[in-house]
Symmetry: none
Subunit: 156 residues, 2 copies
């Protein structure tokens, strides 16, 4: 039970707060994550949330780049300037800031999606559409690769 799994839809209250799923909080605690870090996903209208590894991932990549190059500077701005800390309140809730809303389209509901070592925040309809498209894509690929006599069934 140490990885983020499954997805949950939670409500945003009038103050912009959302409860982080209890199971996610458990994972966070068991991993010893103290500070929750959030980054805009590069390819999706979603926010990636996780521990410091999320940022360290980019730091590692920066090590291979000339520290005085423009690319290095740009990576630094992306890794450090384009994210935010998320603070829990005493109830285990986080705030949907403008930074999150603008990138995801979230208003009054949020889908939490577990992605192993981190999780994502989505606007529920967006995620539903994305998930549907993703399934189809994967199904096509699977049927093709397997010679595709029958469709591939996934448990719901």
């Amino acid at each position: 039970m140490d990885r983020f799994l499954s997805s949950f839809v939670h409500n945003v209250d009038a103050k912009g707060r959302v409860s982080v799923p209890a199971s996610f909080r458990q994972v966070i605690a068991s991993r010893g994550i103290r500070e929750l870090f959030a980054m805009r996903s590069l390819s999706q209208p979603a926010i990636d949330v996780g521990g410091p590894e999320l940022m360290e991932h980019y730091e590692k990549q920066m090590e291979a780049v000339d520290p005085f190059s423009d690319l290095y500077q740009e990576l630094a701005i992306y890794a450090y300037g384009d994210g935010a800390y998320l603070k829990f309140d005493t109830e285990g809730r986080i705030l949907m800031t403008d930074f999150i809303r603008a990138h995801t389209g979230i208003t009054d509901r949020v889908t939490f999606v577990g992605v192993k070592n981190s999780f994502q925040l989505w606007e529920p309809d967006n995620f539903e559409a994305f998930r549907g498209a993703l399934r189809e894509k994967l199904r096509d690929r699977l049927t093709r690769d397997r010679g595709g006599s029958t469709s591939v069934e996934t448990p719901e």
Copy 2:
């Protein structure tokens, strides 16, 4: 929590004052930074702000240049000539001087961008445009040469 992280937009009042984000002031205090340096970014319409390491960073960068060359002279003038020490008032605010405004285009709002060991001052619209372009650039790089040594990969 000892690095400059995330970005904030603050207002400039009629006297030219802006509140430095509380979290940045906290980093400054925890690092024991006494004097805040400000100088022009070499590659962006932004001001770099930080402690003494910032100046050392510039100096290292300039070491690659012949100290008696015109380029060196020009770099020195560019970076130092218009550089400044920033003083806080009792409220934790700094002044938007003319040289800051001229280089960045800042008028009545400022974006503070954390970049690990220092932070930057941007005119909000400029930064937003820059950030958008940067995201696109990094995303292209990600999808184009996947697995390449210089590629940028997202976690998971």
